[in-house]
């Protein structure tokens, strides 16, 4: 009896979930069915995407499994005698060689290196061309539908490799490896990082020394050489970075952008955190409301703010217009102060946020400051809460003033939280241009571009690929220099890497 009841209780939540989901489905169906013709998403699209994505994931997983097994056998299996050693090492060497060829073929495919035509090229490309031939054979032999030939071929290949691994497994014996497991765990991520970061980085360096652009069809007809790198560098520092703007002008604006933003973020966050950090009613309520700018997706916030900077219908100009009219009214009504009010009325009024470079810059600053304060406030509040009360009690006993307490207790004890937050804030702000892009697109006349947005423009609006790559490297080294100085000053990374 008791047993039964507990089983019932155990599955109750699951059952409720299922009932809830079914109900949700029914409600959605009732809601959407009459309007289904107005919605472009359909089940066919969903299924095809799921298929595409699961094939992709499956391919990655299969590749990872192969790599793991390969290295597992290198680290943890030992051939038992001479003949097996020869066989095993031969198979492993052969597989490694094939992989190397594939990597070179990949480099060739993506134009990192260009193999000269000839026997060498066809030899290096033979794994890929062999695979293509296998596919073709499968199609002509009618062993599978044409659409899935590559899948079948891949499965066949997988099977062969599995057999090879099985063979190795049979003729070897286990052995102990101390760091083997660590490398096995790391290797998958290492391959991922190699493909995702190191390879593009190498590519970037190569591009920086090229004249690749739209005219050369990206890398297809590009030429490489030190002189192109030098040319790119010279253009960067003396010529136009995107269309009209000069490098140092944009660099200065970037520094200004970063400094103003981070200053406001930190002071604003500090003020809010200090206000919130006390026993008070409604604290949770305020906190929830205050993180709104952080919680709302940046893209939406930026697009919404963009509309608020509209000349006639945006919030800011409506407000400014109202203030203008208020002062204008006062200047006619309050006679003695009339000159003051008419001066105010003449100077406060709607601003052309989109045409005037200065006000455009102010508009992106306002937006980004609004977006960034909550994050700092939350980080600082966390820091404040970790400071023990005893310090303040002791200071109060000694008769310290509030300011002294802040200066001598709060600030020093906040440093472990504050310094990294500021550093990361600087780096993030330096690189953050989605707000700029969505609000002003760097305009008017590229007067609100920062380095990263200029780079983005140079690449994807003006298609100056070689130049952009050099630009990116320069930005990277600026940031790297900043980081190294920071790490020197604070002794930074030690705690994390030891």
């Amino acid at each position: 009896m008791g047993e039964k009841a507990s089983i019932f209780r155990k599955y109750l939540p699951t059952a409720l979930w299922i009932i809830g989901l079914v109900a949700l489905y029914l409600i959605l169906r009732v809601l959407f069915a009459p309007h289904a013709s107005g919605i472009s998403l359909n089940s066919k699209m969903i299924l095809s995407r799921i298929r595409e994505v699961s094939l992709f994931l499956g391919a990655i997983a299969a590749g990872m499994v192969l790599i793991e097994v390969y290295f597992y056998q290198i680290f943890f299996r030992r051939p038992s005698h001479t003949i097996t050693t020869i066989i095993v090492r031969f198979i492993q060497g052969f597989l490694g060689f094939i992989t190397l060829l594939l990597v070179i073929a990949f480099f060739d495919l993506t134009d990192l290196i260009r193999l000269p035509e000839g026997p060498l090229r066809s030899f290096i490309l033979f794994p890929t061309s062999g695979f293509a031939a296998l596919q073709k054979f499968l199609v002509t032999a009618k062993m599978g539908p044409a659409g899935q030939a590559s899948l079948v071929a891949a499965l066949l290949l997988f099977l062969v490799l599995g057999l090879l691994f099985f063979l190795i497994q049979r003729i070897t014996e286990p052995r102990v490896s101390r760091v083997g497991l660590a490398y096995l765990l790391v290797i998958s991520a290492f391959v991922g990082v190699l493909f995702l970061i190191i390879y593009p980085f190498l590519f970037e360096i190569k591009l920086a020394f090229s004249n690749a652009s739209l005219g050369t069809q990206a890398t297809k007809n590009a030429s490489y050489g030190l002189q192109y790198g030098w040319q790119n560098l010279v253009t960067l520092f003396t010529g136009n970075v995107a269309k009209d703007a000069k490098f140092f002008e944009v660099l200065g604006r970037t520094v200004l952008w970063t400094v103003i933003n981070v200053t406001f973020h930190v002071t604003g966050g500090m003020v809010l955190a200090l206000l919130l950090h006390r026993p008070m009613k409604l604290q949770g309520f305020y906190r929830t409301l205050l993180v709104f700018p952080w919680a709302i997706p940046t893209t939406i916030a930026a697009m919404a703010l963009r509309n608020e900077f509209d000349l006639r219908y945006g919030f800011f100009n409506i407000m400014l217009n109202n203030i203008h009219r208020f002062f204008a009214g006062l200047s006619t009504q309050v006679a003695p102060l009339s000159p003051v009010f008419s001066w105010l009325a003449a100077n406060i009024g709607p601003v052309s946020w989109k045409q005037d470079p200065f006000w455009a810059f102010v508009s992106i600053l306002i937006s980004n400051i609004w977006l960034g304060i909550p994050f700092m406030a939350v980080i600082i509040l966390g820091g404040l809460q970790s400071i023990s009360h005893e310090y303040y009690e002791a200071a109060e006993m000694d008769g310290a003033s509030k300011w002294q307490m802040f200066r001598n207790i709060t600030l020093p004890l906040l440093r472990p939280v504050l310094t990294p937050a500021i550093i990361l804030g600087v780096i993030w702000t330096f690189n953050k241009f989605d707000v700029i892009w969505l609000i002003t697109q760097g305009g008017p006349q590229e007067k609100t571009d920062i380095l990263v947005s200029s780079m983005y423009k140079a690449a994807f609006q003006f298609y100056r690929y070689g130049f952009t790559a050099m630009f990116a490297l320069v930005i990277f080294f600026i940031l790297l220099g900043f980081t190294i100085v920071y790490l020197r000053v604070t002794g930074g990374l030690k705690s994390a890497t030891e």
Partner: protein, 301 residues
Amino acid sequence: MKKRNALVRLYRWFFFRARGDSPFKRLLIHLLLIIACAISVYPVLRVVTISLRPNDTLLTTSLRIIPENATLDNYREVIFGAPEKNRKSDFFLWLWNSFSVVMVTSIISVALAAVSAYAFSRFRFKGRSAGLVFLFTTQMIPAGMLLLPLYIMLAKLRMINSSLGLIIAYSVSSVPLTIWMLKGYYDTIPVDLEEAALIDGASRMMTFTRIILPLSSPSLAIAFLFSFMGGWSEYLVARVVLQKNDLFTWPLGIWTYAQQFTVSWGKFAAASVLIAVPVMALFLYSSKWLISGLTLGSVKG
């Protein structure tokens, strides 16, 4: 005389109470906080306001929060399209595109990171500290820096205009960040647990799958959420990689609304509200853990 005394006492109590904050100060603090809340919430409310406006009064200088003749027409059009104008709604298509891309990115990065972060956290092997410094440096790489070589690479692989290309592009920033964060989490799990299991004869792999993974499942969820949030509202990379309308993620999609000022301002606002409400709810609900993830992972420095 007596009355004046009471007034003075009230005044004293109000401004200079000896213990704790005086009522005046508290009032001031509440006032400041209310102003700050208004500043942080008002722009969001404006979006709601605009989404409720009927189409003929989209362009108005009114600052009312609930507009006159409020209507849900914009929402209807965003969700169900406008059959009478023969216009289909792509809203769910965008959501589905975003969702599938970001979901796969998060799966890849958490799967790679969960395993390798364990090695970084528990083993001392050659190249470990170099690897960690490298992972940290990747956070300095400007967002758009690797975009150009990736773009060319994806173009050569014929992955431009495909969601797979976007998945690869998003993984670039997501994978190292997730490894770094999860390493921070694993560091907080005491080693004693594993040592005890090792003494009892468990293998290293078993301690990982039986002890560490179950213990860190909440942090895995947070890492997942983090990487999900990172890609969910990304605009700039998606804009480069995707050019076909039926592959658009929602930021690209609602940008097509936001660009046309007069025509679709209301629709843009309605779509924003529909997307932002669940995201913000999730964010506010999980913000505590998100913050702990940040402080453990990256801010640790």
